[in-house]
Structure formats: structure tokens, C-alpha cells
């Protein structure tokens, strides 16, 4: 029977199948960070258990870490203790850790792919919902809770309830200035924050096939914002070229054998998805959010919607609440929305290509008066590469702050936060109330829009700069 890629990867990982029980799946790679792991390691300790496969486990420090003064101790004692706890746990249980100061430290979802640890057909988990990022390689990758982190540490497996499959096909041609971020924001606005609930999404079509690995990761990263636990893209030559030569990639004859296998993972001709969504790329334009969930977005050319225009009373109430929190009036053109802060970074848009794109727009220009721009590379390796390419200097000369790697203002667990009432244009993934700091207001945007917004001080696209 013809099968989808997600079904093939699942089948290859079934350790045990029994009537009336969920499948027990093997996990090929477990990524660990400081926030969702301490209680899991403590659980192992209390039960006298060990980590079954430390060689399939890797840890880094990302959520809490400051992005400046790396050599100073972490000022917040609670954050410091959490990072120190991770270091002790990794040392006690034999898990490899990339700590602050290490060239391979950074956001966990940037680190895995850059080391070549994320490969097609693998099962990848992490106590972080944006683990869906790794699906860009054709891996089945999903976020898990701390109980499951402990389960994977102890057994290298997970019991999993079955999922449904959804295809999201993007055909046509992307217009200039329209990016992977705009594709996924448009998908979320179309199917809603619960639209993917219970599904694994496979992104397909000529536009997806033409995307770089970085852009594919941006798309898969935000599958969770559409409610889907995982998003996947079929591995192809772009994928193989990205992996080849990375530290943990197969070498020589092994690489050839791996590629042969990876090619077999593609969804079979005639396989049936449980749901199908189609998007016409020609109709896409730069997208921005106006509300407090990622489904509340409009094209940048649009205006803040009128809650009265929603027929569903629950959506109407949500829109009213969002506009009050965001301090926006219905009908205001999005381009007139003024920001205090621009955040470029995160597991969604903190990779080298994102920095290149933004630097190209900002080169020779200045960040607008009164606007603070934070540029936070996804990993120290990304930072090093960006500096070699002169991108760091471009940001600094424009008046932006060029920081060290981490999750930073995406969720404000470190000192990088919005103050109450401040408004950001952010390349991250969540515009929830208070996400970037208590009382802060977030507009999700692409790196292109972030860079143009930094220059103009109001939500803008690169085309607006040319027109200036």
C-alpha cells in the first residue's frame, strides 16, 4: 500500500506493537536543554535509573542564557541554578553538553542540524515544542513534556498515540520579499492554531522544493503554531548537500548508503493524506500578526481587522481581547504600527541565511531613532560564520546590538525582555501575551520585514525602503 513519509518513518521505529496499546517507538536523537530536563534527571535519580543511550543524547544551554557578558556569572540566581543543574546532570549521567562559551552552544534546534545530528528518517525529540524544526530534513520530530523526557532518557523510546496526516502544498512562485516565514504565517492564518491538531503535516509542492534548508526549517518550526505536533519535508539533493561533510554526518560509503535510504522515504505516489491544504504562492505577500496568537495575522498591506467582522463569537471575543492587549484599533493600516524593538533571532529565524537576508537590507542604513534592534544568532557557530562574512559589522554599523547566541527575547527567560507596553517586530514564533516580557506586545514578522521595520520604525517591507 502506498504510504506517506511520516507513516514510513513511524513504521521503521516501532519497537513493540500490541493490541489495545499504543506503539512503542524508538528515538534516534534526544536533544536536552536546561528548562525541561531537571525534573526528568531527578526522577531518574530517585528511581535509581540511568540514561540508556547517552550516545544518542545531546544537551546545550539556550533558554536562560544571557546574550552579553558571557564570561560573567549569570546574574539571575534562579537561572544560574538551572544552568548549573544541567551541567551537573550531564556530568553525572554521561551526556555530552555544549555549554556557554562552547562554539557549538546555541538554540537546541539550530545546534542539532548544524552538527549534522539531524538526518532524514530519524525520530528526534526534545522537551521543546519547536522540535518540529528538524522535520525539515524528513525526520519525524516532535516536542515532548518532561515526563516523556524522563521516559526517553530511561528507555530511549516513547509510547505514542497514532496521528493523522495532512499535506500542505505550496505551488506557484514566491514574489520578491516573500519568505518562508510568510508561507508558514499564511498557513497558520488559513487553518487556525488548532487546524493541525492531531496531524503530522507534510509540506510539499514546487515552492517548498525550491527552499533552502534554513527556509525549510523556518516552515517546519512553526508547525506547532498551527496545532500540528510535527511538520516534515521530503529529503532531496538540497538536504543531502546540507548534511554532507558536517561533523556527525555519515562519511564515504556510509554516506552513499544513507542517501539511498533517505531517497526511499519520500511519500509514495498515490498515498492518501487524511487532509489536504493548498496554498498559491503567487497570492502571498509579507505577513504580520496583529493579535496574541499566531493565527491572528494579515498581509502587511492590510489593516487591523474589526472584531465585529468575525461570525464565530469565540473568535470575535478573542479578537476583542487581543486588540485591547495589543492597544490597536480596528482599521489601522499595519504599516502605521510603530515599534520600540526589533528582535532578529530564535529557532525560527536565527540561522545564517536569516542574518544574511536582514544584513543585506540594513547594509548602509541606520536603525530608526528610538528603536532598539537586537540581533541574536541561533548559535555561536552561526555568529562565527556571520562575523567571517562581515554581517556582525553591518548590524553594528547600523546601530543594532550584535549579541551572543541563545533563545533570548523569543521568550524572555533571560534579561532580553520587552518592558510593559513596549511593542516589538519579532522574527520569533509566538505573539502570546507577555511572551517577550510582562505587558510586552509582539508582532511576528520575517527577517526581511524585521530589517525594514528597524530602519523605518513602523512595520515595513524592504520595498518600502526602495520607495523612500
Amino acid at each position: 500500500m502506498a504510504r506517506t513519509m511520516a507513516e514510513k518513518v513511524w513504521e521503521e521505529h516501532v519497537v513493540r506493537r500490541a493490541d489495545g496499546e499504543p506503539d512503542l517507538l524508538y528515538i534516534d536523537l534526544h536533544l536536552v536543554h536546561e528548562v525541561t530536563s531537571p525534573q526528568a534527571f531527578e526522577g531518574l535519580r530517585l528511581a535509581g535509573r540511568s540514561v540508556r543511550r547517552p550516545d544518542l543524547t545531546i544537551a546545550t544551554e539556550d533558554h536562560n542564557v544571557p546574550t552579553q557578558d558571557l564570561l560573567a556569572p549569570i546574574a539571575d540566581p534562579v537561572s544560574r541554578k538551572q544552568v548549573e543543574t544541567l551541567r551537573k546532570n550531564c556530568s553525572d549521567f554521561g551526556v555530552r553538553l555544549h555549554p556557554m562559551g562552547d562554539i557549538d552552544q546555541g538554540v537546541v534546534h539550530v545546534v542539532g542540524p548544524q552538527l549534522g545530528l539531524t538526518q532524514p528518517g530519524m525520530t528526534v525529540v526534545c522537551g521543546d515544542s519547536h522540535t518540529s524544526t528538524h522535520g525539515a530534513f524528513g525526520a519525524l520530530a516532535f516536542g515532548i513534556g518532561t515526563s516523556q523526557v524522563e521516559h526517553v532518557l530511561a528507555t530511549q523510546t516513547l509510547t505514542m498515540a497514532p496521528f493523522k496526516t495532512m499535506s500542505v502544498t505550496v505551488d506557484g512562485t514566491l514574489r520578491p520579499g516573500v519568505s518562508a516565514k510568510d508561507i508558514i504565517l499564511a498557513v497558520i492564518a488559513k487553518i487556525g492554531t488548532g487546524g493541525g491538531q492531531g496531524y503530522v503535516i507534510e509540506y510539499r509542492g514546487e515552492v517548498i522544493e525550491a527552499l533552502s534548508m534554513e527556509a525549510r526549517m523556518t516552515v517546519c518550526n512553526m508547525s506547532i503554531e498551527a496545532g500540528a505536533r510535527a511538520g516534515m519535508i521530503a529529503p532531496d539533493q538540497t538536504t543531502f548537500d546540507y548534511i554532507e561533510g558536517r561533523p556527525h554526518a555519515p562519511k564515504g560509503a556510509d554516506f552513499d548508503a544513507a542517501v539511498e535510504h533517505w531517497k526511499s522515504l519520500r511519500t509514495d505516489e498515490g498515498a492518501v493524506f487524511d487532509a489536504e491544504v493548498v496554498l498559491d504562492a503567487d497570492e502571498l505577500s509579507p505577513f504580520v500578526t496583529w493579535g496574541t496568537n499566531p493565527g491572528q495575522g494579515v498581509p502587511l498591506d492590510g489593516s487591523v481587522p474589526d472584531p465585529a467582522s468575525y461570525e464565530d463569537p469565540s473568535a470575535r471575543a478573542a479578537a476583542e481581547k487581543a486588540l485591547a492587549y495589543m492597544d490597536l484599533k480596528a482599521g489601522t493600516p499595519m504599516r502605521e504600527v510603530r515599534v520600540d524593538t526589533v528582535f532578529l533571532g530564535s529557532c525560527t529565524n536565527g540561522r545564517i541565511e536569516d542574518l544574511r537576508t536582514a544584513a543585506e537590507i540594513i547594509r548602509g542604513r541606520r536603525v530608526a531613532e528610538g528603536v532598539r534592534m537586537l540581533v541574536v544568532p541561533g548559535s555561536m557557530r552561526v555568529k562565527e560564520q556571520a562575523n567571517e562574512e562581515g554581517l556582525g559589522r553591518v548590524f553594528e554599523e547600523a546601530g543594532a546590538e550584535w549579541r551572543e547566541a541563545g533563545c533570548s527575547m523569543c521568550l524572555g527567560m533571560n534579561p532580553d525582555q520587552l518592558k510593559p507596553g513596549e511593542r516589538s517586530a519579532s522574527t520569533s514564533n509566538r505573539n502570546f501575551e507577555g511572551r517577550q516580557g510582562r505587558g510586552g506586545r509582539t508582532h511576528l514578522v520575517s527577517p526581511q520585514v524585521a530589517a525594514a521595520t528597524a530602519v523605518r520604525g513602523t512595520l515595513s517591507s524592504p520595498a518600502d525602503l526602495v520607495a523612500q
Binding site: 524508538y26 515544542s129 518532561t146 516523556q148 488548532g194 492531531g198 509566538r430
Partner: protein
């Protein structure tokens, strides 16, 4: 894990959709390394900023059933959201749609996340708003939610395996460790070129 069979308690009406886990417990409370004591973080911002927020109202103080709007628990995978609800005293969350990861975390940890039609949620909201003393019974044995005052007697779905595990209060890891031989056998078939981290 505490066993769950039948629970009867008062309910809190949370009339909001898309309640994400950042609202259930803001990130600042995730820095702790302990497993208990997260009740102070539960809906911390809403409790601080809105005196009329349902959890601030005295009539709902002893409730143990949260009647939530659709798309409850979206966003971050933080299991702290489940812990905060449990530490506050909730045993059950009812909603017409849950985010996958939240529901999985809840059912792993013994917080019963029950799917009900929105129309039933609406009736429960009206009943507990009219009379906060209204009791709701969640019966895992019969897989049924009952509240005579709200005129609700509604079956719910939960797979047999999860139901059994919750009824018995079983530790998932101990169950899986019974199959260590199968795990070992699977490992011997894994492709030699798969990456290792050490």
C-alpha cells in the same frame, strides 16, 4: 502517580479560547528545578492584572474541575502547565479541543483532560456561573461526565490503554522497562551509520 477513578468537585468556568501555556504558567516560573510548588505560577499574569479573573473570585476557590474554552494548552510543551494546575488542586480539565502536547502531558501526569462537545461546555459554563456550588462528576470508569444541575450526562472518549493506566496509577517508565528485551533487539537492527553524539 495518584489513581483516578471517579472525581466529583466544583468547577471553574474559563471562558477564553486559545489559552496558551505561557498564560497557564509564564516562563519566569519555569526556572525552578523542583517538581512541586508551581501553584503560585498558575495564570499568574491574569490573576495579578485582573481582580475579576475567575480564579481570583472567592466562590471558585475550592474548585477542582476547570471548564476551559477551545484550543486549551496551545504553544510551549512545558509540563509545568500541568503541574501548576495540579498543584493548585485541579484534577480535571474539560475542553472541546486541546493542544496535542498539553493533553499528552496531562494524561501522563494524571490530570484528566476530557474532550466534550462545545455545546456541553457551554451548558456547564452557564450552570457553574449561575451557581458556583454546582458539582461536576468525572467518571473515568464509565467514561462519562455528569452534572445533574447542568443537565449534563455526556460520555467521553479515552483509549483503553490510557484509561487503564490512569485507573491503576501506573508509572509509564516502569511499564516500558518490562520490554527492555524488545528495545535491545530493536537496537541491534539499527543502521550502523546513524549518528552518535559521543
Amino acid at each position: 502517580m495518584e489513581k483516578f477513578d471517579v472525581h466529583t468537585g466544583r468547577a471553574v468556568p474559563l471562558r477564553a479560547s486559545n489559552v496558551d501555556t505561557d498564560q497557564i504558567i509564564p516562563a519566569v516560573y519555569l526556572k525552578r528545578v523542583s517538581r512541586t510548588g508551581f501553584e503560585d505560577g498558575l495564570f499568574a499574569e491574569w490573576r495579578k492584572s485582573d481582580p475579576d479573573f475567575v480564579l481570583n473570585r472567592p466562590e471558585y476557590q475550592d474548585a477542582s474541575v476547570l471548564v476551559a474554552g477551545p484550543d486549551f494548552g496551545t504553544g510551549s510543551s512545558r509540563e509545568h502547565a500541568v503541574w501548576a494546575l495540579q498543584d493548585h488542586g485541579f484534577r480535571v480539565v474539560l475542553s472541546s479541543r486541546f493542544a496535542d502536547i498539553f493533553r499528552g502531558n496531562a494524561l501522563k501526569g494524571g490530570l484528566l483532560a476530557v474532550l466534550l462537545p462545545q455545546e456541553v461546555i457551554d451548558r456547564l459554563w452557564e450552570a457553574v456561573e449561575a451557581d458556583p456550588a454546582t458539582e461536576v462528576t468525572v467518571d473515568l470508569v464509565e467514561r462519562e461526565v455528569r452534572s445533574p444541575a447542568a443537565n449534563v450526562r455526556e460520555p467521553f472518549e479515552l483509549d483503553d490503554y490510557t484509561r487503564w493506566r490512569l485507573l491503576e496509577g501506573l508509572d509509564d517508565i516502569a511499564l516500558t522497562l518490562r520490554h527492555t528485551d524488545a528495545i535491545g533487539a530493536f537496537e541491534s537492527t539499527r543502521k550502523s551509520w546513524l549518528p552518535v553524539t559521543l
